[in-house]
C-alpha cells in the first residue's frame, strides 16, 4: 500500500471516481475492436486533462499541480485497476521526463507546457528489435537527419512528435525530436494483445526538428526511463491488486461441492503468499516514489528492483486469477483475460524481470 497525504488521497479518490465512470474495463474492450489508429478515446483523454492528470507530479513552479511523484503514482495505480488506455505513461510521464532531464532551458520552456496540459502528446522511441535494450545501436544521426528502426513505441501513431534515442556520428548518445508528419518517417500502428496501440517506427533520412544533446543527455535519458519504469510499476501494481481483489471476491461467492471455494486451504495459502509478495513489491515501488520526491536523481536500482518484483507478482497473479476463476477465466466474457494480456505487455515494456534482475546485479557490483 501507499501512504498518502490528505491532498494525494483526495486526488486518488477523484481519479478513481472518474475512471469508474469514464474508463471502466469495458472501455478497453470497446477500444480494442477499433482500428489501430485509435490509441485512446479522445473524450477520456480530454477528461483526464481537465482534471490536470498530466501535470499531477509536476511542481507548481513548473506549472504543475505539485502532488509529487507519490501523487502521480497513486493516480497511475488507479488506471491499472481499470486498464485505462491513455497517453499518460507515454507522454505525460515518459516524454515529460525526457524533456525535463535532457532538454536545454529553452527546450523545456517550449515543450513542457504542452505536455503538462495534454494539448501536445509525445512518445519516446527506445527499443530496437524484439528485445528491450536501453542503448541505441542501429539508430544513427547523420547531420541533421536520422535513420533507423524503433519498435514497441507506445501510442506512436497518435502522438504529435517522437523523442528518438540515437547515436551521433561520433557514437555519442543523443535524442532527436521528430514530428510525425516528417517525410521518411513511417509508423506501422498495431494493437498488441493488451488492446493498446504501439508503433513500429521506420526512419529513413528523416529531417529532425531539433536535438536534445550534450554531456548530460544520456544520464538524463536513463533517469527519465527509470522514472517511467517506476510509474509503469504503479500501473502494474494496480492491475495486480485488481486481480487479487477480483479473485478473492470470486472465491468468497463461488460454491463447489456445497462449500465456498474460498474455504479451500490450498487456495487460501496461495493467495496469502501472493498477497505477501504483492505487498513487498508495493513497498518497493512506494519507496521508489518517495526517493523521487526526495530528489534522488539516480533511480536505477529503485527502478530495477521495482520492475523485477512487480513483474514477477503480476505475472504470477494473472496466472493464478485465470486458474482460480476456472473455466470462466479462459473465456473472453470475463475481464480476467484482459488483465492477463496486459500483464504480459507490461512485463516486456522497459525490460522484463530477467532483464532487471541482471541490471540490478550489475548495479550492485556483482
Amino acid at each position: 500500500m501507499m501512504i498518502l497525504n490528505d491532498e494525494q488521497r483526495m486526488l486518488r479518490d477523484t481519479i478513481a471516481d472518474f475512471l469508474a465512470k469514464e474508463s471502466p474495463v469495458d472501455a478497453l474492450r470497446a477500444l480494442r475492436d477499433q482500428e489501430p489508429e485509435l490509441a485512446w478515446e479522445p473524450s477520456l483523454w480530454s477528461g483526464l486533462c481537465e482534471l490536470g492528470a498530466p501535470a499531477v507530479a509536476s511542481s507548481e513552479a513548473e506549472g504543475g499541480l505539485g502532488f509529487g511523484q507519490v501523487g502521480m503514482g497513486a493516480l497511475i495505480l488507479e488506471t491499472g485497476r481499470t486498464l485505462c488506455a491513455s497517453p499518460l505513461l507515454s507522454s505525460a510521464i515518459h516524454a515529460q521526463a525526457v524533456i525535463r532531464h535532457c532538454g536545454s532551458p529553452a527546450q523545456i520552456e517550449r515543450r513542457l507546457p504542452g505536455l503538462l496540459s495534454g494539448d501536445t502528446v509525445a512518445s519516446v522511441a527506445i527499443q530496437e528489435g524484439s528485445q528491450f535494450r536501453p542503448a541505441p545501436r542501429g539508430t544513427r544521426r547523420n547531420g541533421n537527419t536520422l535513420s533507423g528502426d524503433k519498435s514497441l513505441v507506445m501510442d506512436a501513431g497518435a502522438a504529435d512528435y517522437l523523442l528518438v534515442s540515437a547515436l551521433d556520428e561520433a557514437a555519442q548518445f543523443c535524442i532527436a525530436v521528430v514530428h510525425l508528419n516528417t517525410p521518411g518517417l513511417t509508423i506501422q500502428s498495431q494493437r498488441l494483445m493488451d488492446g493498446r496501440q504501439y508503433g513500429s517506427v521506420s526512419l529513413e533520412i528523416v529531417e529532425v526538428e531539433e536535438w536534445l544533446e550534450g554531456e548530460a543527455v544520456e544520464q538524463g535519458f536513463t533517469r527519465a526511463l527509470d522514472e517511467a519504469t517506476i510509474m509503469l510499476c504503479c500501473e502494474m501494481l494496480g492491475a495486480s491488486r485488481e486481480l487479487l481483489d477480483r479473485t478473492v471476491a470470486y472465491l468468497q461467492e463461488r460454491e463447489q461441492f456445497d462449500v465456498k471455494v474460498g474455504t479451500f486451504q490450498a487456495l487460501q495459502h496461495r493467495l496469502a503468499t501472493a498477497y505477501c509478495e504483492l505487498e513487498l513489491a508495493a513497498a518497493s515501488v512506494f519507496n521508489a516514489l518517495l526517493a523521487m520526491d526526495k530528489g534522488e536523481t539516480v533511480l536505477s536500482e529503485h527502478a530495477s528492483r521495482a520492475k523485477a518484483l512487480v513483474g514477477d507478482i503480476l505475472q504470477h497473479l494473472s496466472n493464478e486469477a485465470v486458474q482460480m476463476h476456472g473455466g470462466m477465466g479462459v473465456t473472453d466474457e470475463m475481464d480476467i483475460g484482459l488483465f492477463l494480456k496486459r500483464s504480459r505487455t507490461c512485463n516486456q515494456l522497459f525490460g522484463n524481470s530477467a532483464f532487471h534482475r541482471n541490471r540490478f546485479a550489475t548495479l550492485r557490483g556483482f
Binding site: 489501430p36 527499443q127 528489435g129 524484439s130 528485445q131 528491450f132 519498435s151 514497441l152 498495431q190 494493437r191 498488441l192 494483445m193 493488451d194 463461488r254 463447489q256 461441492f257 479451500f264 490450498a266 487456495l267 505475472q315 496466472n319 485465470v322 486458474q323 476456472g326 473455466g327 477465466g329 479462459v330 473465456t331 473472453d332 466474457e333 483475460g337 492477463l340 494480456k341 504480459r344 505487455t345 516486456q348 522484463n352 530477467a354 532483464f355 534482475r357 541482471n358
Partner: protein, 395 residues
C-alpha cells in the same frame, strides 16, 4: 525374431508405403482431419492417408475388428505409435468419439449401441461433442441441472451444457442429464446420446482469451431422445462418466496430441533471437537456466511415461504414478509457453495482424493452453487425488 519384432517390421514397411511424405510432419491446426458429416480434407494426400488408416481400422487400433477397429494388442498398438512417431506420421483422425465415447461405449454400451456407433466412429463419419458441464458446475461435475424426463420410450431433455467443443459442427453429443431430481447429487444422473439434428437443439460459441471460440454453449429445449440412446443403467450415468473421464485425463496429459502440434523448438528459437555469449551460450543466464530446467522436466516427463509403460507391462506399476501425469504435463506445457513468450519478446505480444502465422499460433496457444490446467479436472482436483489416493493422506 519375436512376433513383436516382426509386427514392428511389417508396420514400418506398411507405414513407409502408405503414409505420403506430406503427412510426415508436425500437424498444424488447419490441417487436422476431424470426423463428421461436415468434414473436409485439406489435401488429396491427407485423404489418402486417412483412408488407408481407416481401412485397416488403425484410426482405433485396439478396438475389435468386428466393429471396424484394428484389433491390436496394447503392445502392438504401442509399436504402431512408436513407428508412427519415428516417421512423424500425422494422426489420421481427430474426434471426441474416438478418444472418449468409444472406450466407454465398448464397456457400457448395449450390443445395438456398439453396432450402430462404433464403426461410424472408427470411420470418422460422425463428429461427437461432449455435454458434461452445466454452466457454473465447474469441478463439481455432478451438480448438474439439465434434466431428462422419462416418457417411457423417450426422454424429454431441457437445459444447457457449456464447454461443448465445436458443438456447432458436431453430429452427435453425449450428455450427462439428471433423471432423478430427488436422488443425491451423483445418483439420479444418466448418460444419453443425442443427435444434434434433433429439434430443440441450438448452440452459441464461447469466445476465449486466445481469440478463438472452439467451445460452445449448447441449449436443449424439450428435445426428444429415444430410450435406446441411454448408455448404462437409468440413473447410473455417473459410472459411465467416470470411465470416460479417465480417458479424458489421459488425453489431457499429452494435450499436444489434440491441439495443433507446434514444436516450438525452444532452444532454436532462443538461439536465433537472443543475444549469445562468445561461447555461443544464451547470454541471459537467468533465462538460460530456466530454459534448461524446462527441458529437463520435459525429458523427465517423457521418462516418466516410459516408466509407467514398463511398469504396466511388468505388472508392478505403482498405481499412484499415472495420477500425476495430467498435472505435470499441463503445468509443464504452460511453463514452456511462458518461456516461448519471453523469448519472442515484443513479437510475442501480437495475437493477430502480423505477417508471421507461426508466431501468432504460438501466442494463441500460450493463451489457449491456460485452459489445460482447468479442463478435464483442474490441477487442484488432480492434487487432491494425488494426495489422497496416491499418498494416502486422509480426506
Amino acid at each position: 525374431m519375436s512376433d513383436m519384432d516382426s509386427f514392428r517390421l511389417e508396420t514400418r514397411a506398411w507405414l513407409e508405403a502408405h503414409c505420403p511424405v506430406s503427412q510426415r510432419q508436425p500437424i498444424v491446426r488447419e490441417e487436422q482431419i476431424w470426423a463428421g458429416s461436415r468434414s473436409t480434407f485439406p489435401s488429396e494426400d491427407a485423404r489418402q492417408w486417412f483412408e488407408a488408416m481407416r481401412d485397416r481400422g488403425w484410426t482405433a487400433p485396439t478396438w475389435p475388428t468386428e466393429l471396424g477397429g484394428g484389433g491390436l494388442s496394447s503392445e502392438e498398438a504401442r509399436i504402431l505409435e512408436q513407428e508412427m512417431a519415428r516417421l512423424q506420421c500425422r494422426p489420421p483422425l481427430y474426434d471426441m468419439g474416438l478418444w472418449m465415447l468409444g472406450p466407454a461405449l465398448l464397456t457400457y454400451g448395449t450390443p445395438g449401441q456398439k453396432a450402430l456407433h462404433i464403426p461410424r466412429i472408427v470411420r470418422g463419419e460422425v463428429r461427437w461433442a461432449q455435454g458434461y458441464s452445466d454452466p457454473g458446475a465447474g469441478s463439481d461435475l455432478a451438480s448438474l441441472s439439465t434434466r431428462a424426463i422419462d416418457q417411457g420410450d423417450h426422454f424429454v431433455v431441457s437445459g444447457t451444457k457449456i464447454w461443448t467443443t465445436r458443438a456447432d459442427v458436431a453430429d452427435w453429443i453425449f450428455c450427462l442429464v439428471r433423471t432423478d431430481p430427488d436422488a443425491s447429487k451423483r445418483e439420479g444422473i444418466s448418460f444419453l446420446l443425442i443427435d444434434m439434428a434433433s429439434e430443440g437443439v441450438s448452440t452459441r460459441p464461447i469466445p476465449l482469451i486466445s481469440g478463438e471460440s472452439e467451445f460452445c454453449q449448447t441449449f436443449f429445449d424439450e428435445v426428444q431422445v429415444p430410450r435406446d440412446n441411454l448408455v448404462g443403467e437409468l440413473n447410473g450415468g455417473w459410472e459411465v462418466a467416470k470411465e470416460l473421464l479417465k480417458h479424458e485425463r489421459k488425453l489431457m496429459a499429452t494435450m499436444e496430441v489434440i491441439t495443433e502440434k507446434v514444436d516450438v523448438g525452444l532452444v532454436d528459437l532462443a538461439k536465433s533471437r537472443l543475444e549469445l555469449s562468445d561461447a555461443g551460450e544464451i547470454a541471459d543466464g537467468d533465462l538460460r537456466s530456466r530454459i534448461a530446467t524446462h527441458l529437463m522436466h520435459a525429458d523427465a516427463l517423457h521418462h516418466l511415461n516410459e516408466t509407467i509403460y514398463r511398469g504396466m507391462k511388468a505388472g508392478q506399476l505403482d498405481p499412484a504414478l499415472p495420477l500425476t501425469l495430467k498435472y505435470i504435463g499441463t503445468t509443464e506445457q504452460q511453463r514452456k509457453d511462458e518461456l516461448m513468450l519471453e523469448i519472442l519478446g515484443t513479437d510475442g505480444l501480437a495475437m493477430t495482424g502480423t505477417d508471421s502465422v507461426e508466431q501468432e499460433r504460438m501466442v494463441r496457444n500460450w493463451a489457449y493452453n491456460k485452459a489445460h490446467t482447468i479442463a478435464g479436472g483442474t490441477s487442484e482436483i488432480q492434487l487432491n487425488i494425488i494426495a489422497r489416493r496416491g499418498l494416502g493422506l486422509p480426506e
